[in-house]
Symmetry: D2
Subunit: 327 residues, 4 copies
């Protein structure tokens, strides 16, 4: 690789009602509102020193505009452009100033059709980690990862590992030894990007890191107090994969957000990825609780980087199984 992708850095979501979404993310979950401007709300976690990690754009059409990755240097962007062009993939530059608080960005569709975005520059914001007086709700600290359903996980895996320089921390295989799901990272956590076998490309969820397990429990209590009990879709429980203590919520537009605490450091290059078998009883949620059907069946659409239309999807390659073990 002649470029360095640092980490997942932001998601950009279309939402129908900005105030409704802001109430959910700020009042209930405790995200920090950096600013609201031109029909967009920019949110960040308490630990984040960048302007935002979540953009909510008012729109009649729901969908995910981009999963944004931060790179080390400006010139990394050209090199990534070359790579995507060499593979015949669509690319598009968005110049600095066109996206609020961001430098120039390279928008692409990856091999699965996912709208990725790469950028080096993003405005700074005060890290509020020691403003404990502002901690509320889930005490959201920082963006952790995104998880996408794709029809061909192995193709996505190969592209991210071999072309983009990700490492694999854990993965699940079928009896025929095909990769059914994979957890891939650039930063030294279990993942920045996960893929699971399913109709796609679609966004399964995006995830935020919490400071401790009690923040997650308190978040459930706050959600219930504020009338959001039905937004709790799954958990709290422990994942076998990744070891995270987790909670899955559905936001007011149905986007799925995971709150997450407790994985491990992935600094070592000689660590062998953990393999989970479909028939391994431990592949399921560590504590044994079943996930609801909605968790398997409901995902969110991606939007085309040029037309802004919903990206068409394909059925998955591997025979569908209820993926009880997917995180």
């Amino acid at each position: 690789m002649n470029f360095n992708i640092i980490r997942i850095a932001r998601t950009v979501l279309n939402v129908k009602d900005l105030n409704r979404s802001k109430d959910f993310y700020v009042k209930a979950l405790g995200m920090i509102e950096t600013e609201t401007k031109d029909d967009c709300v920019y949110l960040r976690g308490l630990e984040e020193h960048t302007h935002h990690s979540l953009v909510l754009k008012k729109s009649e059409k729901l969908g995910v505009q981009a999963l944004g990755y931060k790179v080390e240097k400006e010139e990394d962007l050209e090199r990534i452009e070359e790579l995507f062009k060499s593979k015949g993939l669509k690319t598009k530059w968005v110049e600095k100033g066109k996206q609020h608080a961001l430098g120039r960005a390279l928008h692409v569709h990856d091999v699965s059709g996912i709208p990725l975005e790469f950028f080096c520059e993003i405005e700074k914001a005060e890290r509020l980690i020691q403003r404990y007086d502002l901690y509320s709700g889930a005490r959201i600290q920082r963006i952790d990862h995104v998880n996408c359903a794709v029809p061909d996980v192995e193709k996505a895996y190969d592209f991210f590992i071999n072309e983009l320089g990700f490492a694999c921390s854990e993965y699940t295989t079928t009896e025929e030894n095909r990769i059914w799901a994979a957890w891939l990272h650039r930063k030294q956590t279990v993942h920045d990007q996960a893929f699971m076998n399913g109709e796609g490309p679609r966004l399964h969820h995006f995830a935020y890191w919490l400071p401790d397990p009690l923040a997650l429990i308190h978040c459930c209590d706050v959600l219930a107090s504020l009338g959001y009990a039905e937004n709790i879709e799954r958990g709290p429980a422990r994942h076998g994969l990744s070891n995270a203590f987790f909670l899955y919520l559905r936001d007011p537009d149905g986007y799925r957000i995971e709150l997450y605490n407790g994985d491990y450091l992935t600094s070592d290059n000689d660590f062998e990825p953990v393999r989970w078998d479909l028939n391994d009883p431990r592949r399921q949620t560590f504590w044994g609780a079943k996930a609801p059907d909605s968790w398997f069946n409901e995902t969110s659409p991606f939007l085309d980087i040029e037309t802004n239309e919903e990206i068409s999807t394909k059925q998955p390659n591997l025979a569908q199984r209820k993926p009880e073990f997917v995180i």
Copy 2:
């Protein structure tokens, strides 16, 4: 009342395999084994200064032998005997020494047929609350309450309130304003004894108090590590009723045990019981998660104080509804 019942103090359960049960309660849940003697295991929590709060008796026939209450004075026992006799209820004395570590005890069947036991004297044991080196599993502190399914909750309620001197902290009513379930206490917590409408008398669960919410989460992790994931029946979650953070487990013989943290002090005589309506959306689990069917349908039999046979049960008075709101 001319007697003073202090609190629920022990449960006596028949189990099929003492070692299997001991592994569950001691290794996984962290109870303290006071001693094992004559085919009985005597267990207590870390806070308890009495010899035990749980007796596991080896027996081929499963069932609950007694729910034991501690009274203030020896003479309270005679007065309680008078009360039960005056109501035409069965009573039986078990002299000191016949039950290990216990003084004499009065065994009775209450108005629902539940085998209750009253005693004043129980051997002391060291309170281990500051032996943190012995804390493991769920760090079980002390017995909290028992919950029974009975066919006529109002009859049970009247007897416990008017004849035994219990106070009601919370209760649930049908649309016709009939009491469907009730939480009653002597000690200053939300309950010692709960009743719910159902085929009975049967034991729904017995419950232990934990020192904090993370002990409950750690217990789930330990259970999964030791291969007990399937023993987790419901939770962790928050009860609307009582406000407790809870977990329901099934022990190796199927008895249901609740681990519990977070209710409130019930010291004040002028506190009005909290009424919950069947149609109140808040009657359900506070966070909105559904309980599994087993939680509603499966309970444990009581044994007759004289014949030691299973007590026959009746169908409930109130039209059955899936009692989603019962704690």
Copy 3:
């Protein structure tokens, strides 16, 4: 006893600047402001169903006006009056309506000169225990106890045990077997009222119960974020006595407040008080950390129920020792 004292129920403090105090108790510690009226702020904890447990009165003269106890019945007040009169102690009625939100109250000076107050009636307020959206700071739940320095602990002990019906949970003795400090309760916690040997009568501290240990740690963080780091006097640490996880703060007028989590149930009449020896190394803070001198030397004055002047104090009976073991 022909009366029933239920529990410590409120403290009434003179403060110099209402807004400054309100910022501390509400914004930093998370108490609920029931109302502000006539130069008084009325505060309660999230669990409390009564109008307030803390009254802050604007006044140029600092001091504690009353430690208020709730009794079971109105007629208990007459009986308590008789007792105090029979001992030649000063009493005074304050009729209903004279103290906001309170029924009539009996004000007295006890055998140590402490201004106690007894009342049965207090206005209700909504219990906010399940309004988790309002939880902030230390998530203060309910008033737990008060601790007074008195010159003759044994005299105070005898009066509270033999005349007022308190029970002793733990106590400390000198080598000559004199009681140096004692923890006494009516409600089923380790204490409502503690006494320690010292110049007095003076208030050492009043204490609130927290829902869990992390609330205490978060409170430290919030205090530091808001510029109150210097108000943290001692802790967080564990008490050997009572087993509580504790934090001592000084409010803007210097009153000492303890935040407290983790003692044990004191329901059983046959539990023997725990005796601690001055020379027992475990008498100190369980983790071994030293308390600062201010904690030993600084206390707050009580005011006379009639003259409203500071009550004069006496030097303690027992030779002063640095009371490292006092909670």
Copy 4:
């Protein structure tokens, strides 16, 4: 840099009594004993997938033999050797097999005289992160960092930043804008290596990461239960620098170990190091508590990689100030 140092990976300490040390690290702190062999105990944390991160060697002479860093590739070792030789620094190869469970290692003295060790290969061990039944004491997860007192912090800083490729997360400066202390990292946490102005080179402490703040509190309780209360030197409290919730202990030979939870991710190359001023009141412990004198004055000696004798030390360059702000 033509090599890649991954992270701090182990410390090697001489201890006087192996069993005494093992009791402390395994029974009290909850480390996992991988094996004991040839007068050495090899310990690891619950998350670690490598054979050990702490070696305790029986020896009559106390001292630190090495601070060991893991590198990405075997050939990195030659490149690091070249660097150290080019600077005139002492180097020494220890072939594979000479140190149990380790590949070949390069031992050096750095510009401050600290005995560093670099290696690529270390035997694998089972990651026990999901063996919650083995969690005890502090539930130690993984090695986090080491902190050394050196006489010339700026020299050490320059060497680690410019020659070894570390990044600085936070640092403290005097009024004259000289670097007084610095926190440097390779892995994406606040530090692998910290330096502070002081007589040196000496080891101030080594540190382990805990899974959550309650593990730290529980560790204090376990230490007190087992008679180790006097081994608690400082904390629990919050660092201003790094934001960590911390506890400092002294092991049976006086080595200082920090238990640590709660810093932040340092993945971004454009994050500006946080500068703290000596006169900034926030430089102190975030909650304001003072550290004891021992924490400032007592450190442990390093041993020479060739002679195995104590390395001689120098007084610090910067006028001594009580470094209240050092983490």
